[in-house]
């Protein structure tokens, strides 16, 4: 199965929440998901009730034998690999080679929670997805336009921009979103609404799709996961 890299256009766009909820949403569809944190902040565990402070993680292990022991299996049966405390461990390069060596469930979705500086295009293959999480604000607009709106810019296959925390009541958001819809080719056909539940869920050390099943966020992530699945089947 393809890898899904979730990366933010800038800080604070809700990358970890999207990664965690996407993983859970895929799990709710009856498929297996493996969630790997590449972000040195090491806070993804909060979404999954990991012991606090968290002492495990891939960044501190030295061999692939060691790496296999770093996975957590959550109650919802998601395999989670946190970043851990940075010591003298392996680099992301080695992590990706190690991941191929250890035994992981077949047909699992690999979801990577990447920091905004992560050189994601170097790691993604042609079949992978890069979900760039943005919010409809002028900063993101500026970033995206400088990166992608040039006439000679060639879109990379599998790279999509996902609008997160969309609030239709805000005029600036509505206008920016309208512009993006018309001009950004990589824009996802769906977006994630702003929902208090996503903010609340880490407080319960859980994901919003699980804690607030009646909320829109669940429907939004269900849409996102099925859209990804349809993209995979088209490949």
């Amino acid at each position: 199965m393809p890898h899904v890299f979730v990366i933010g256009s800038k800080g604070g766009t809700g990358t970890s929440s999207v990664a965690a909820n996407l993983a859970r949403s895929i799990r709710l569809n009856g498929e297996t998901s493996v969630l790997i944190e590449l972000c040195p902040q090491n806070q993804l565990g909060v979404h999954f009730a990991l012991p606090w402070p968290n002492v495990q993680g891939w960044a501190q292990c030295e061999s692939f034998v060691d790496l296999a022991k770093q996975f957590y299996r959550t109650d919802s049966d998601i395999l989670l690999l946190p970043y851990g405390q940075m010591a003298n461990g392996i680099t992301p390069d080695t992590l990706f080679t190690h991941l191929k060596q250890i035994e992981l469930p077949e047909n699992a979705w690999f979801i990577f929670d990447c920091p905004k500086t992560f050189p994601v295009f170097e790691f993604a293959s042609r079949k992978d997805f890069i979900i760039e999480v943005s919010t409809c604000d002028p900063i993101c607009h500026s970033i995206l336009y400088q990166k992608y709106a040039y006439k000679n810019y060639k879109p990379i296959q599998g790279h999509y921009i996902l609008v997160n925390k969309y609030n239709a009541q805000s005029q600036i958001e509505a206008e920016i979103f309208c512009v993006w819809q018309n001009e950004l080719n990589q824009l996802c056909p769906l977006f994630i609404h702003f929902d208090e539940a996503i903010k609340e869920a880490p407080g319960y050390q859980n994901q919003a799709v699980q804690t607030h099943p009646g909320n829109t966020c669940r429907a939004d992530f269900a849409k996102l996961s099925s859209w990804l699945a349809s993209k995979v089947s088209q490949q």
């Binding site: 239709a168 009541q169 309208c178 819809q181 208090e196 539940a197 099943p213 009646g214 829109t216």
Partner: protein
């Protein structure tokens, strides 16, 4: 020791003590308890309460009460004596029990063995087997049909057909054959055989798919009905006396009218065109400019507002569309509103020629290539222009494109009979079938709204026609005389308010009828230049439709001629009448049921016509004599009606007819019993006809019971996904189940587990196109997952977006025709019968004040007498 004496309790009052010497105190106590129980719990009078339990004692002489299960006994008692109600005991029950007991003793019951039950069972099984046979028969025919008739168009025949001579020759041959079929006189057995053959061919055809089967059915129906009319004219007009000849010729006239309308109707709807929208050019620079007219006279701003906002949002290049409010009421508030939203506002000094004059005046000030017209209550979908304008660009001769009028509120028939969206309404036949049929013959009418016209064509005929009160039809007629084409697209792209009371509805129809009659006199489509015979036929049928007043009244009273005056208005043998009338009627019904199927259910046409018959009689007659009389009346819409009431005025003609027919029916019953036996057959057939008329009139009466209308704005049923945003920031997915311009009803996808407080404000997120917008609402009511929301004040821009997300969505009205099933005559008849029964009840329920006590007392008396009649134990009835 005294207390032991005879076991009499010491605290009893002395009369009881004395009594206890003779009767055992145990029984006395029982009696006392029973009496108290009856008195308090069943509210029986004191005497009855004392006497009732006494009946128990004689019974104990014969039965051992101890060994009986009391609750079982009670239950059995009420099953065998169903007229005794435990909640309402009275002294008369003794009489009832006696009657019932005698009945039970004498009558022998076996389950389902009553004569009626056997009969019902037999009829039912016959009906079921008939249906099964019918189904298998149809199935076989269908299969064989598809196998045999796989017609491939042959080019050689096509080429041959293109030769004028061949075409005329075949027409001639067809007419000759038809003439032969119609005119050959048959003996009675021959006629029976002929009709049997025709029915045998037509009957299985009704379920076969495809236009060919329809055409065959129509041909057969034309033959048999023409034959019938021929027979009526040649063999049945030897009337005995002057009365019979007057009544008989009236009936003949009505029948000829019905025949003509039938033939024209068949012609009109033989092959509906079902035109598809044409694509527009890629480059929007090539799109023509359009003016949108919204004429208004006295309607409130709240009605005009949504229409204007939706018109401003029509998807068309912004520099090529202008919206104008044509205000004949010259109201300041309208002017302010128009300026605020950016619409044009046109008024005039002289208010001549009503709507047509208003639009002609506006044409002086606007300059677009095309003019789109919306009545001020018709809210257009934003795709309106994109779906219609293609026709003009494809064919330069097209001068008008019409779309259906769709109504989101219930019309008086639907509202008062409570069958909204269950039975196709009166409009559907015209917009679903007839206009599409007209389009085939290039004879689409302009209906005054929801249409686009070509400016140059209008200028060619000197603007909108204003000589009649139906300016729309006349304008289209004039343009067609100049050789322009008209088109119809059967996709509802606008929706409006239906008339809200029967009297308003009748008023509107009177105007149409008068206008059509005026056109018939002023600019007769049968005469004059520029039209081909097909267009003339379509126009003729439209005019004829409104002349239905007299014929309908004749049909509703014709059978009474025989019952009251004993005059034979059809001079023929009983058997011949049966053989000509019944199969022909049957065939017409089957054919019409197939053609009109989804758009008009069987028998409802008669109901609609009966309501209007009397009212359109006068205006059409006057307009035919003097076409310049009568003025334009504006149809009132959006009215309120605080309580149920019965409109006696409007239903008076139907009521009179109903009572005459009812009286006739009773009189016929009396004649049947006491009259001479030679009339039995004709009386029976007249009674059947009268009874049918009674049913139709009953339904017509039922419409006049005006149901209350309390909501200021009509709710539109819908199924739009949306999100409800609570003040806490939580977003809940939901579905908008109904909406209006004031509020909406939503259904949450899951039961709310977050506290939702009523009276809290919230935001509802709706999508329009690819965009999502939030609208402020207040939560008013909650019932389970359903919430009622009230819209809060919004800015103009928000209002526009709200209209875009609701009323003027592209798909807002698309499913209006698809909801209806193909007509089933038996089902439809049952509906009419039900409506009719409601009508009869309505008369009693809404009887005028002085009569009300009488009606009440009579009902009570009837129920009282009925309660004494013996009846079958309830448990048998259930099994």
């Amino acid at each position: 020791m005294r207390s032991v004496f005879l076991k009499i309790p010491t605290h009893w009052p002395w009369p009881l003590k004395v009594l206890a010497i003779f009767v055992q105190p145990v029984y006395l106590r029982l009696l006392k308890l029973r009496a108290q129980h009856l008195f308090h719990d069943y509210q029986v009078s004191r005497i009855a309460a004392t006497l009732w339990p006494l009946c128990i004692y004689p019974i104990t002489l014969f039965l051992k009460l101890d060994s009986i299960n009391k609750s079982q006994l009670k239950q059995n008692f009420y099953t065998f004596f169903p007229q005794v109600k435990p909640s309402r005991l009275s002294a008369f029950d003794l009489v009832r029990i006696t009657i019932q007991a005698v009945f039970l003793a004498v009558w022998r019951f076996r389950r389902n063995q009553s004569l009626l039950a056997i009969l019902r069972h037999q009829l039912r099984s016959i009906w079921v087997s008939l249906k099964l046979w019918d189904r298998s028969f149809n199935h076989k025919i269908k299969n064989n049909w598809n196998r045999i008739f796989q017609i491939t168009p042959s080019t050689s025949i096509g080429n041959l057909w293109n030769l004028k001579g061949v075409r005329w020759l075949s027409y001639l041959l067809m007419i000759a054959a038809l003439f032969l079929f119609v005119t050959v006189p048959f003996s009675i057995p021959a006629q029976a055989a002929f009709m049997a053959v025709i029915l045998l061919v037509a009957y299985p055809m009704r379920k076969v798919q495809g236009q060919l089967a329809t055409i065959i059915m129509i041909t057969l129906s034309v033959i048999s009905s023409s034959r019938y009319i021929w027979w009526r004219f040649t063999e049945t007009i030897y009337w005995q006396d002057w009365l019979a000849s007057i009544l008989g010729s009236a009936l003949l006239l009505a029948e000829s009218y019905a025949w003509l309308v039938l033939i024209l109707g068949y012609f009109q709807s033989i092959n509906p065109l079902k035109r598809r929208p044409e694509p527009l050019p890629e480059n929007t620079c090539d799109w023509p400019s359009v003016d949108v007219y919204i004429p208004t006279y006295n309607e409130p701003l709240s009605v005009v507002k949504p229409t204007t906002l939706a018109a401003l949002n029509l998807e068309w290049p912004a520099d090529k569309i202008n919206v104008y409010i044509l205000d004949d009421g010259c109201r300041e508030s309208f002017k302010e509103f128009a300026e605020a939203v950016g619409a044009g506002y046109i008024i005039r000094d002289k208010h001549t020629h009503a709507k047509a004059g208003n639009m002609n005046n506006a044409m002086k000030y606007t300059h677009g290539d095309y003019i789109a017209i919306f009545d001020c209550d018709h809210i257009p979908a934003r795709s309106f222009l994109q779906l219609t304008m293609g026709q003009f660009l494809k064919d330069k001769k097209v001068c008008m494109v019409q779309t259906p009028h769709h109504f989101f509120s219930a019309d008086p028939f639907e509202k008062n009979l409570k069958n909204h969206s269950k039975i196709p309404n009166e409009n559907m036949l015209f917009y679903g079938l007839i206009q599409d049929g007209n389009d085939m013959w290039n004879a689409t009418f302009f209906c005054g709204s929801c249409a686009v016209l070509k400016r140059s064509a209008l200028e060619d005929i000197g603007g909108f026609a204003f000589d009649t009160v139906t300016e729309d039809a006349h304008t289209a007629l004039r343009m067609q005389r100049r050789g322009y084409k008209t088109a119809y697209i059967n996709i509802p792209q606008a929706a409006g308010l239906a008339t809200d009371s029967l009297s308003a509805h009748v008023g509107q129809r009177i105007r149409w009828a008068r206008g059509m009659a005026q056109i018939f006199r002023i600019d007769n489509p049968l005469l004059g230049q520029g039209l081909n015979w097909r267009q003339r036929a379509c126009y003729l049928n439209a005019m004829m439709h409104f002349l239905s007043g007299i014929p309908r009244l004749i049909f509703l009273t014709a059978p009474l001629a025989l019952i009251f005056f004993n005059s034979f208005i059809i001079h023929a043998e009983f058997l011949a009448i049966m053989l000509y009338v019944i199969p022909t009627l049957l065939q017409i019904k089957i054919t019409n049921s197939r053609i009109q199927g989804k758009y008009r259910y069987s028998f409802w046409g008669e109901v609609y016509e009966s309501v209007l018959a009397w009212y359109i009689l006068k205006p059409t007659t006057i307009a035919l004599i003097n076409p310049n009389k009568g003025k334009f009346n504006v149809t009132e819409k959006g009215g309120l009606n605080e309580q149920d009431f019965y409109d006696w005025n409007i239903s008076a003609p139907c009521l009179v007819l109903f009572f005459i027919n009812a009286f006739g029916f009773i009189y016929a019953c009396i004649r049947l019993i006491f009259g001479s036996p030679e009339y039995v057959a004709v009386l029976l057939i007249s009674m059947a006809w009268t009874f049918y008329n009674l049913i139709v009139l009953g339904a017509a009466i039922a419409v006049a019971a005006e149901a209350k209308q309390v909501r200021v704005s009509h709710r539109v049923q819908s199924n739009i996904p949306a999100h409800l945003k609570l003040n806490s920031g939580h977003l809940l997915p939901c579905v908008v189940t109904d909406y209006s311009d004031k509020g909406m009803g939503i259904r949450l996808n899951q039961p709310p587990y977050i506290n939702i407080n009523m009276q809290d404000s919230a935001t509802i997120l709706l999508t329009h196109g690819t965009q999502e917008t939030g609208f402020p609402v207040k939560m008013i009511t909650a019932r389970g997952n359903h919430l009622g929301l009230l819209l809060q004040p919004m800015s103009t821009e928000q209002q526009m977006k709200y209209i875009l997300a609701t009323f003027s969505r592209v798909d807002a009205w698309l499913d209006w025709q698809k909801n209806f099933q193909q007509d089933k005559p038996s089902f439809s008849f049952r509906q009419v019968r039900k409506a009719s029964w409601v009508g009869v009840q309505n008369i009693l329920l809404h009887a005028p004040k002085p009569l009300q006590p009488i009606v009440e007392q009579m009902t009570k008396a009837a129920l009282f007498i009925y309660s004494f009649l013996p009846r079958r134990p309830t448990s048998y009835e259930n099994t």
